[in-house]
Symmetry: C2
Amino acid sequence: MAINKTEVRRILDQVKAAGRTSLTAPEGKLVCDAYGIAVPKEGVATSAAEAARIATSMGFPVVLKIVSPEILHKTEAGGVLVGIKNAGEAEKGFATIMANAAKYNAKATLLGVQVQQMLAGGQEVIIGAVTDPAFGKLVAFGLGGILVEVLKDITFRLAPASRDDALSMLDGIAAAEILKGVRGADPVDRDALAAMIANVSQLVSEFPEIVEMDLNPVFATKSGAIAADVRIVVDFAPVTPRYRPSQETIVRQMNRIMKPDAVAVIGASTEEGKIGNSVMKNLINGGYQGAIYPINPTAGEIMGKKAYKSVKDVPGEIDVAVFAIPAKFCAQALVEVGEKKIPGAVLIPSGFAETGNMAGQEELVAIARKYDVRLMGPNIYGFYYTWKNLCATFCTAYDVKGHAALSSQSGGIGMAIIGFSRSAKMGVSAIVGLGNKSDIDEDDLLTFFEQDDNTQIIAQHCEDLKDGRSFAEVAKRVSKKKPIVMLKAGRTTLGARAASSHTGALAGNDKIYEDVLKQSGVIRARSLRDLLEFARGIPVLPTPRGENVIIITGAGGSGVLLSDACVDNKLSLMTMPPDLDAAFRKFIPPFGAAGNPVDITGGEPPKTYQNTIRLGLEDPRIHALILGYWHTIVTPPMVFAKLLVEVVEEMKAKGIEKPIVASLAGDVQVEEAAEYLYQHGIPAYAYSTEIPVAVLGAKYQWARGAGLI
Amino acid sequence: MAINKTEVRRILDQVKAAGRTSLTAPEGKLVCDAYGIAVPKEGVATSAAEAARIATSMGFPVVLKIVSPEILHKTEAGGVLVGIKNAGEAEKGFATIMANAAKYNAKATLLGVQVQQMLAGGQEVIIGAVTDPAFGKLVAFGLGGILVEVLKDITFRLAPASRDDALSMLDGIAAAEILKGVRGADPVDRDALAAMIANVSQLVSEFPEIVEMDLNPVFATKSGAIAADVRIVVDFAPVTPRYRPSQETIVRQMNRIMKPDAVAVIGASTEEGKIGNSVMKNLINGGYQGAIYPINPTAGEIMGKKAYKSVKDVPGEIDVAVFAIPAKFCAQALVEVGEKKIPGAVLIPSGFAETGNMAGQEELVAIARKYDVRLMGPNIYGFYYTWKNLCATFCTAYDVKGHAALSSQSGGIGMAIIGFSRSAKMGVSAIVGLGNKSDIDEDDLLTFFEQDDNTQIIAQHCEDLKDGRSFAEVAKRVSKKKPIVMLKAGRTTLGARAASSHTGALAGNDKIYEDVLKQSGVIRARSLRDLLEFARGIPVLPTPRGENVIIITGAGGSGVLLSDACVDNKLSLMTMPPDLDAAFRKFIPPFGAAGNPVDITGGEPPKTYQNTIRLGLEDPRIHALILGYWHTIVTPPMVFAKLLVEVVEEMKAKGIEKPIVASLAGDVQVEEAAEYLYQHGIPAYAYSTEIPVAVLGAKYQWARGAGLI
């Protein structure tokens, strides 16, 4: 069905002219018609023959209703007949209704009889659209009645939604099975529902003034879907467009900011304990090799570097200016940064939006826009870029190079990232504080890290997304290349309240975040530890080439817990083919259990681990291994760890690489073994069956989203 | 309504005599009548006046149906009238139906008209009963239709269920809100539903031959509940009673086994690497002060101890015999243990049920019963009881005394417990391997630890409960005194399959475990780490005296994540009264956020933490504190840790003790601070906001279940 945008424009103009904020039911139906959204057919008949003709054209059964401005209570007037089954009944019904109406009110003007398609039951569903402050237009789908109201069983996608998005929504609710037909009911027409969802999403995208739309209920049958009731709310107030520089501009500016050749420290100081002193120390002691320009109105030299009164006095080019001065001096300094054409300002100072000083923050943003300067912060710890030995921060220095790029909205979480990274010997490419996010936010970082060869995974903590729409678009692209993990704080109502007292950000409905992050290929971490462990483990693991996971375990008890964890993390334990089962059985004691988990039993020598792991790696039908090690005197922890690394190296030499994770059950020596394994590319955890499987599950989630398996 | 057991006995006898396995519908109704379970009322009228009388007595509306052996298609014969609203209609209806029937088939014998109570809609629910292999009789409740079928929204309780249990079931389903009336519907009659649940549970408990019962649907209205359809399945096969020694017997025997004065090691050896050698070493080097009797057919002396050929040769009494001999020699040795009247045997050897050798295991159990010996294992690592310096195991020795008693069904998980305990410096009272659980199982341990003064918390890993009914009964009693935490492996279908290949145990429906554990006051751990962290943290925390939790945080970002975790762990963040809010505000910067979380902001000196924490402890309206520490130069980690301990000690001196947990965000120095805090009674975690809150949540869950708050 062709879309008729002109008709919708006409109706909306008429609503706007009338100063209304919602459409009447007939207007709503016309809008639906214009976008191929099925509503009950209807027409007005002025004769019995016409009633029969109209009814026949729309199909039976139909409902007949008197049309008369004077008759408000149609049923009372005998003006309604339902379940009209054929043309004869329609003709007769017309006459009956007209006669009843005339009898009820002799003075009434009888305009005719409305013939309306009667909806023949089916499954009640709800299709709607909302406008979210962060994500903009979203289309929603749920089951009608109590399921949506009580169980909140509803799912969202960014609008416009593709047909595939729409189909995924039908499977995206808990009660999805109902749509397939239960208790003898017919399955619904999935294509018709998907088309309706897609059309609604296209409509609200093409007419942004439609801020809310509800088709409730929609009757979905085996041969179609019809929206029985339409509600459309509009808002004609102009929307301020977001600042969205082009990808190319972001990359150009962010590359200079994140990988600068020259850094200015505004407020550099010799005084111990001052932020401007800590930043200088971190830059110098961190081993940064670029130019460092201390900016200080009084000092001639700071830590052996010539100081300048203003960035404008510095002879050469500057790529980024780190601010270590009180809030009140920032605006003036930023003007100078702009005049010096420095592309980025790292605003460590607090005292802006987070303390209620909105105006101060807005002033900075205005200056930044004027001079095309990008702002990081304010109210941040700064940032690290290890491959440049750059610690542009007042916190402790960090220099373990690696491939995980992390960011946090909050300073406290940033410190936890640094502590964990150091403790777990996790190499990072960058750690970035985003704080108040007056300008640079998560999607700018994604755009930078996307093309940063030192970064293989991006892990972000955030409390809100100021421009969720842009984030989702960028994430959808970037996640195809590099895994993105997000810890979204403020998931719960209480958490969201705390978030809002913290940054003044309105936390959105968590289900919207859940669905949109998934739609964008983002892996969602449920806890801080998960964020950190995923950032550490995912880049270490090779990408799986298929869904067949096997567990090889020395401890049957671990096997059970690892199986539970596979289900929790949506991993599919391979059904063991008989030949493979027999091959494993050759290596394990007769009372060991083959199948999957492969239970090699507890008292086995290194050889048994070796043989079974080698087989698991060699057989091309197996795509990933989960190992359950049990500490015994026969195969001590480091013996296990070393044999495992040997087998992996041996296979790598043959071109075989598969993701392997390990759960180590044993005395404290397993901690050393876990560390050794991690250093050799095998995420391994002592005293936990759940964490290694969660890490593998996250890797799989990414690989699936990126279309790699 | 009085219960009529005689009537049910009569009907069941009749079913048994007929060799049937289920009841007919009329039999089912009679059973329901006998237990006060409302079913639709009905009666047969032979006159119009009688029809009116019967209908009036049961209440309108009613349904009228012709009763005639010759008329099968009643509706076709005009023999059914629904919605009869009053006595007049009933009289008239009787006449109409009789006339219609006579016209339809002049030869038919018209026995009269059945008058049946017409169910007037309401909410469809399901009430049922099942017989679980581990838990025995269970009563079930769910919403009718798709909610149970598709969403599996159903809840179970052990039968018989008290009225309180039954009421808790109405709130125990996800869609509980529906019962309260949504979309203008009436709320259901909760008392009527609870009574029906309780009656069903009483019925199946009193007549164990009823193995399954379904009331589906039950129509619940605002003024009652009626079961429209009844299905009862019976099994008259006799059930073998479980071995259930009395509590007193268990305590007497377990005290000798767990805290022995004399231990025999059957298979003690001087040969390095042998299990019998490891056990001897662990006993002696572990510092056990009781008598140790090595049993070995050849050696005269082992590790300086006189060896005997048989336990029967030992002069004194022996409390426990540790078996370190191959499976095939166990039966004979056990007979000697029995003859020596040793109350317990610790069966380390494998080679029994776990390898398919059921007969061998059954033989041991038979000997044990004959001589009244309790068996631990077989197929275990042994056990530790630290307060006796007893390491009756072939694994590494462990001697850090504490108050957590842990057990595991699997050896691998046992080793993980030991490793974690050592690594986390967690003191334990005991660690016990249960393995094949041929005899001693979780409820024996509960009964022992209940009266063991050295134990304050019991944490158990299990894959199945062989006698879940007994466990639940004991746990219900013990959990009132001491927290019980359980990690139930095999939660998922895949996990359960692995469990079944591992121990031959049939894993039950996880929802049954979920509900029964909850009903018994058991805290369920979701992961191995949770089990271990709960075991470590719960005994350290004082018991809260109320539900008011507050968060005091230096990092706003931690505050948000901690709030999320509070919701996840069912903790209620106190709504801050204005005077308390004002009191906190005095101590924090003007831009800090009071309310809850109390955000003291990041750059604050030790004094701010001190003042706010002291206030939180002093104000009697606050019952628990969650602290979010942010590492800064102004308040370094150990400064924070020490000031916190000081404030806690100061309050303790005043008689104030409240549970406090802490999340530490910062560089690696926070790890030392976390350890220091833990040692001083404050569970504290680096780089995690979720674990400290989960530990507090578990403590709360216990305190609520035990009726302490």
